[in-house]
Amino acid sequence: MNNTNKIPVPEHLLVTSTMVFLLVHSMQVGVGILGFEKYIAMDAGYDAWISILIAGVAIHLLLFMIYWILEANGGDLVSIHTSVYGKILGGLLNIGFSFYFLLLSLTVLRTFTEIIQVWVFPQMSVWMFALAYLLLAYYFITGGLRIVVGMCLLSVILGLPLLLFKFFPIQNGQVDNVYPLVDHSINEILVSAKTSTLSFLGFELLLVFYPFIKNAASSKKWAHFASFYTTMIYLASALVAFIYYSEEQLQFVTWGTISLWKIVDFPFMQRFEYMGIALWAYVVLPNICLGLWAASRIPKRMFNIKQKYILILYMVIVFIATIRIDDRNLIDGLNTFTNQIGFYFLMYIPVLFVLTWIMKKVRIANES
C-alpha cells in the first residue's frame, strides 16, 4: 500500500490501538443519549429499536470506508483531501471539516449547559459555566491527545455504573411494550434510522486521529467494537425508555434518560438525576475536548501554525456562541442544524471513498 503521506508523530505521543475503542465510543456518546428517545420514536414509535440497529450497521459500513481511505492514503484528513482535490479545493474542505468539528463541540457544550439550566440551576449564568468548562477543556487539550484519551477512559468507566441504573425503570415499566412486532412502514423506520445515525456522529474524527494510533491496522477491530458497543448502549437505553414510557408519553418527555433517573431510589439518596447530570459532565468533557482538538489540529496541519493559538481562537468562538445562543428555540435550532450538517458530512464519506478508490485504480493503471 502507498504510505507516502505518513505523518510522523513522536512515539511517546501515540495512543495504543486499544484506545481507539475509547476515542470512537466516547465521541459517539454525548449529550444526545440523554434525550434521543423522543426523536427516534417520533417516526417509528416503539419500532425505533430496529432503526438503531440499521443505523449501527450503517455506521459499521462507514467506519470500514474510513479505514479503507486512511489505509490507502496513510495520512490523515488533510493529506487525503490534498491528494484527492489538490491544495485549494482540498483546503476548503479541510476548513469545512474543522468548522464542523467545532460545531460539534459547540452543540455539545451548549446542550449540556441547557440541561443544567433546565434541570438543576435555572438561574445559572451561562457564560460563567461555559468559561469554567472551556478552561477545563483547555487544560485537558494542552496535555495532548493522550491525556484526552485518558479522560475518555475514565468517562467510560464512570458511565458503566450509570447503565446499571436502567434496572430501576425496568422494574417500574411494562415489559410488554417491547413485544417484537413491526408496526411501522419501512419508510418510517428508515427515517428514524436517519435520526438515529445522528446519535453516532463523531466517529469521523478518526480521520484526524489516525496518525496518532500505534499499530493503526490492528485498531480497526477496536473501532468496530466501539461502534458496536455504542449501538448496544443506545439500543438498551431505547428499550428501557420504551418499557418505561408509553409510546405517546414519550413525545412529552424531552430528556428521556434523565427522567428515567428520577425513579432511582436508594435509602441514602433519592432523585438520582442530579447525580446523573453531574456525572454526565465527565461523559461530555471528552466529547468537547476531542472535538476541539480535532478542529484545531486541521489548521495546524494545513498552515503549520501553533495548535495552541488556533485552540484559543476556537475556544473564544465557542464561548461567544454559547453565550449568544440563549433560548430553547435557538438551541433546538442549533441541534437540528448540527444534525443536518452532520448527516451531510456522513454522506460525504462514501463520496470520498469512491474518489479514493478511483484514484487508486488510476494510479495502479498508470504504473503498469
Binding site: 440551576f121 491525556i147 485518558g150 479522560m151 477512559l153 433519592q270 442530579y274 447525580m275 468533557l285
Partner: protein, 497 residues
C-alpha cells in the same frame, strides 16, 4: 524545573587555595586541633576534635607513631592499623575528608602531601521501630539518620551483587551524601539516568532531609501530590528495588525515597503483603473508600444541603434539618469553620510534644465539638461527617498523601458552593486532568488506570496472591520483567496425585 538546571554558580571552590590557606581557615574554629609530634616520628597531626573518635587517635594512631620511627607518609600508611588510609595532595579531597572527620597527618607543616585517616565518630541513633508506617506484623526496623546504616539495612535484605549503590554529594554548602540504589538488570537504565541526572542538577545550598530531594526532583513541583514515595521501612524499599524501582537514600534522613511511583502505591501499606491476599485486598479497598469519603463527604454535604434538597431521603431529612435548624451560617461556612477547627487540632497536635499532643487532640475534639454543637454553631450531623472525614484521611499508609488529601478537600468545597454537584464534578475533572498529566521520573503517575495496564492492576486496588504476580509492574519498565516462572508455579495436580 529550575531545580535541576545547571546553574551558573560555581559549585567548586576556588582552585588556587593551598593547604596552608585551608589550615589557616580551619584554625579559626575552636575544635580544630593541630599539633606537632617530635620523637620518634616527626609529623603534624590535625583534626576536628568534635568530629573524630578519640579512641582512634589515642589507641591506634598516636601509639603507632610514638613506638616506631616513621619517616614517610607511605610508611605511616603501612603501619597505622586503620583502614581507609590514603595519601593525597589534592586540596579539595583533603578539605572534603577533613570536614567529614578524617585525621590528617603531614610530615612538615609546609608539606602539600598529607595522609588522611578516617576516624569519624559514629554518633547515631539505634535502628528502631517505624513510627509513621508502623505495622503489627512484619519487620520492625526503620531507617535512621546515617546513610551507611541505611544502606546496610537494605543490603542485609537484598544480598545481591547486582544491587548497585551510587553516591553523589548534593548541596552547595552541606555536601550531603545521597545514594541511588537499584538492581542492575532489573531497573530500567533510562530511569536510573533520569534520577542521576536530576540529582546532579540540583542547585541548592542545603539538603537537610530526603523531602528536599522529593520536592526538587519532582516532575511537577507545583503539584500537591508527592511524586516520589517516601518510606521509613527498609523492607518497603527492598520490595520496590526488586520491582525495578530506584531508591534514593539521603544522609541525615530516616526516610528513603522510591521512584517511579504511582498514585495507587500511596494507598498500599506494607501490611498488604503480610496478610492473606483477600484480607489485604479488602483493607486496601476500605482505604480507597476512606480517601474518597474524606475528600468528597463535606463537599457533598454542602452541595446537597445548599442546592439539591430533593436528593435527601424523607427519613434522613428530619434528622438533617432539625440538626441544622438554628445554625446561623450557611452550610459552606459551617463546614469551613469545622474543617478549620479540625485542621487546627491536627496542627497543634503535631507541633506539641507527644503526650500533650494526644491530650489536646482528644480533649480538643470532644470539648470543642460538643460545645460547638450545643452552642448551635454547627450541626451534629456535620460534626460526625467532618470527624469521620478526618479519621478517614489518616488511613493512608503514606503520610505525605494524607497531607495532600487534607488540602484537596477545599477546592471541592468551593466547587460545591458554586455549582452544587456539577461544581464538585468539575473540580474532580480538574484533578483527574492534573493526575493524568502528572509523571513520576518520566513515568505516568496515574498508571495502572491510565495508561490502562491490566498486568499492574493485580497489585493496585486489590492485591492478588503472590503466585498470580509472576510479572513485575510495567510501570517501572523493568529490563527483566519476570519474577518467577509462571509455568512451574501454576502446575495443576489431579486428585490424589
Amino acid at each position: 524545573m529550575w531545580k535541576w538546571k545547571k546553574g551558573s554558580g560555581d559549585q567548586q571552590p576556588n582552585h588556587n587555595e593551598t593547604l596552608k590557606d585551608l589550615m589557616n581557615k580551619l584554625s579559626q574554629s575552636k575544635d580544630f586541633m593541630s599539633y606537632e609530634l617530635e620523637e620518634p616520628t616527626n609529623c603534624v597531626v590535625s583534626y576536628f576534635e568534635t568530629m573524630i573518635e578519640p579512641k582512634t587517635i589515642n589507641r591506634l594512631i598516636l601509639p603507632t607513631l610514638k613506638r616506631n620511627a616513621l619517616h614517610s607518609l607511605e610508611a605511616m600508611k603501612n603501619n597505622i592499623p586503620v583502614e581507609g588510609l590514603a595519601v593525597t595532595d589534592d586540596v579539595n579531597i583533603i578539605r572534603h575528608r577533613f570536614m567529614q572527620g578524617h585525621i590528617i597527618i603531614q610530615m612538615k607543616k609546609s608539606d602539600k602531601k598529607v595522609l588522611t585517616i578516617p576516624a569519624v565518630v559514629a554518633e547515631n541513633r539505634d535502628v528502631s521501630i517505624p513510627e509513621v508506617e508502623f505495622s503489627v506484623v512484619g519487620p520492625k526496623e526503620a531507617f535512621v539518620e546515617s546513610l551507611d546504616t541505611n544502606i546496610n539495612l537494605v543490603r542485609k535484605r537484598l544480598t545481591l551483587p547486582q544491587l548497585i549503590v551510587k553516591e553523589v554529594n548534593i548541596g552547595k554548602l552541606t555536601k550531603t551524601r545521597v545514594a541511588i540504589l537499584y538492581v542492575e538488570g532489573v531497573a530500567n537504565e533510562e530511569n536510573v539516568n533520569t534520577v542521576e541526572q536530576r540529582l546532579e542538577d540540583i542547585e541548592y545550598d542545603q539538603i537537610n532531609d530526603s523531602s528536599y530531594i522529593t520536592q526538587m526532583i519532582a516532575d511537577n513541583s507545583n503539584s500537591p501530590f508527592p511524586q516520589l514515595l517516601d518510606t521509613e521501612r527498609p523492607d518497603r524499599v527492598t520490595g520496590s528495588l526488586v520491582e525495578g524501582k530506584i531508591a534514593i537514600l539521603v544522609d541525615g534522613s530516616p526516610h528513603g525515597l522510591t521512584c517511579p511511583t504511582t498514585i495507587v502505591e500511596f494507598f498500599s501499606a506494607s501490611d498488604d503483603y503480610f496478610l492473606p491476599w483477600h484480607l489485604a485486598s479488602a483493607f486496601r479497598l476500605i482505604r480507597l473508600f476512606a480517601v474518597i469519603f474524606s475528600v468528597l463527604s463535606t463537599p457533598l454535604y454542602i452541595a446537597i444541603l445548599t442546592y439539591h434538597h430533593e436528593m435527601i431521603p424523607q427519613d434522613l431529612l428530619a434528622t438533617i434539618v432539625s440538626s441544622r435548624a438554628d445554625i446561623p451560617f450557611p452550610p459552606i461556612l459551617e463546614v469551613i469553620i469545622l474543617e478549620l477547627t479540625i485542621e487546627l487540632l491536627r496542627e497543634a497536635g503535631a507541633r506539641l510534644p507527644m503526650k500533650v499532643g494526644q491530650t489536646i487532640g482528644i480533649v480538643g475534639g470532644i470539648v470543642i465539638g460538643t460545645a460547638a454543637v450545643e452552642a448551635g454553631l454547627t450541626s451534629n450531623v456535620l460534626l460526625i461527617i467532618v470527624a469521620l472525614a478526618a479519621l478517614a484521611s489518616f488511613t493512608t499508609p503514606v503520610y505525605q498523601i494524607g497531607n495532600t488529601i487534607r488540602l484537596v478537600r477545599f477546592p471541592f468545597m468551593i466547587g460545591a458552593q458554586l455549582w452544587g454537584l456539577v461544581g464538585v464534578s468539575l473540580v474532580m475533572a480538574f484533578f483527574i486532568a492534573h493526575l493524568l498529566k502528572l509523571r513520576s521520573i518520566g513515568r505516568p503517575f496515574f498508571a495502572p488506570i491510565y495508561p490502562l495496564r491490566f498486568r499492574d492492576l493485580k497489585d493496585a486496588f486489590i492485591r492478588l496472591p503472590f503466585n498470580k504476580q509472576s510479572q513485575r509492574p510495567i510501570q517501572t519498565r523493568p529490563i527483566d520483567s519476570e519474577r518467577f516462572n509462571q509455568k512451574r508455579a501454576s502446575e495443576k495436580r489431579d486428585i490424589d496425585e
